[in-house]
């Protein structure tokens, strides 16, 4: 049925139920003006299927918890207006994020995502204590600009779900982990930039990226992991002659 702006009409919403084995369950959800996909999922859980498992937190597009696959694309459901995705026939298909183990229904396990974050050494190695003055870092330096371009990542795993190589190669660290590694390689305060570069360019690292750009297409924050990964590739070549990190 078509949705009308005054809030009448119903959406036909297919939702994945189960785990790896399961089925799609279809719900008729009242369509409202300014409705998001998260609103739809919440309506289903409150009025039709209390046992539906899904995640959300902030509902306003800053936490990334509500990421799901909507009509084949990974996105934040709280920032996806139904009118943009449901089409004229008012149909939605909602599935859990790809490339991550399923827990139940729309909830996935992000443990592998964060394990790869650690394997890429995506953690800061401090060089100063609170007793010392702040490190003076020019925001205009090329390295700081490169780092700043990637630090807004909130680990929502949309890029990880969108990446084809993540789906094909279980060793591949993925765009988010490598993007973080790139920000640290460019962070002059980090005490082990060489370690980060080595971790990010090992097997399953930056060289496995084929520059599809799925991550760039889907990142809700507008980050560019492909460019960061290209930067890691360049640095890894310099590292072969010992000049990867200043």
């Amino acid at each position: 049925m078509t949705a009308s702006p005054d809030g009448q009409g119903c959406l036909s919403v297919e939702v994945w139920r189960g785990r790896d084995e399961g089925r799609f369950q279809t719900f008729a959800v009242p369509h409202r003006a300014n409705q998001t996909v998260l609103d739809v999922v919440t309506w289903i859980q409150r009025h039709a299927e209390p046992a539906l498992a899904y995640r959300f937190a902030c509902r306003v597009g800053v936490c990334g918890s509500c990421a799901m696959t909507v009509n084949g694309r990974p996105r934040w459901t709280c920032r996806t207006h139904v009118s943009k995705v449901a089409g004229a026939n008012g149909r939605l298909r909602i599935e859990p994020l790809r490339n991550l183990p399923r827990i139940k229904d729309l909830a996935v396990d992000l443990t592998p995502f964060f394990e790869k974050w650690q394997r890429a050494q995506g953690r800061f190695t401090p060089t100063r204590s609170r007793a010392e003055p702040l490190a003076p870092v020019s925001p205009e330096s090329p390295a700081r600009k490169a780092a700043d371009a990637g630090i807004e990542c909130i680990n929502c795993a949309v890029c990880y779900a969108a990446c084809d190589v993540v789906g094909w190669d279980p060793d591949y660290l993925g765009p988010a982990a490598l993007n973080r590694a790139w920000t640290l390689v460019n962070d002059e305060r980090d005490g082990d930039r060489r370690g980060v570069l080595r971790a990010a360019s090992a097997g399953g690292g930056c060289h496995s990226c084929h520059t599809h750009g799925s991550c760039v297409e889907h990142c809700p924050v507008g980050l560019n992991p492909t460019a960061g990964i290209a930067g890691l590739k360049r640095r890894s070549l310099l590292d072969l002659v010992g000049r990867g990190v200043p």
Binding site: V216, T226, A227
Partner: protein
């Protein structure tokens, strides 16, 4: 089978690059073996070329020429994205590569007439 999340130019450029690369890799040993016929005699190579003078072969040759151009174009795009300063998407490169492949393929067809 192609899910909506794959419907954008960067993905298709990759598919073209990978498919053309595999095809060319499979073709290469055959190409070397054919040329190696000249070790026997010029006549041996001529005999092969005479056999190859038929429509099926010509289509295959056209395919290879086109695939080679596609692979070159897609490869240059990847290296531009990796080594040159980033400009948003550089989607224009994909169009250029596709057009170049069509042009080369067409010239080939015209000249084998």
């Amino acid at each position: 089978m192609i899910r909506p999340q794959h419907n954008y130019p960067g993905f298709w450029a990759f598919v073209a690059h990978r498919v053309s690369g595999v095809a060319l890799a499979l073709f290469l040993p055959l190409h070397f073996l054919a040329l190696g016929l000249a070790l026997e005699s010029d006549a041996a190579l001529d005999r092969f070329l005479a056999v190859a003078d038929n429509p099926v072969f010509r289509v295959a040759e056209w395919g290879l020429v086109t695939l080679l151009t596609i692979h070159l174009g897609a490869g240059l795009r990847v290296m531009a994205l990796e080594f040159l300063p980033w400009r948003d998407g550089r989607k224009g490169l994909i169009g250029l590569g596709a057009i170049a492949a069509v042009v080369v393929g067409t010239i080939f067809l015209l000249r084998i007439g």
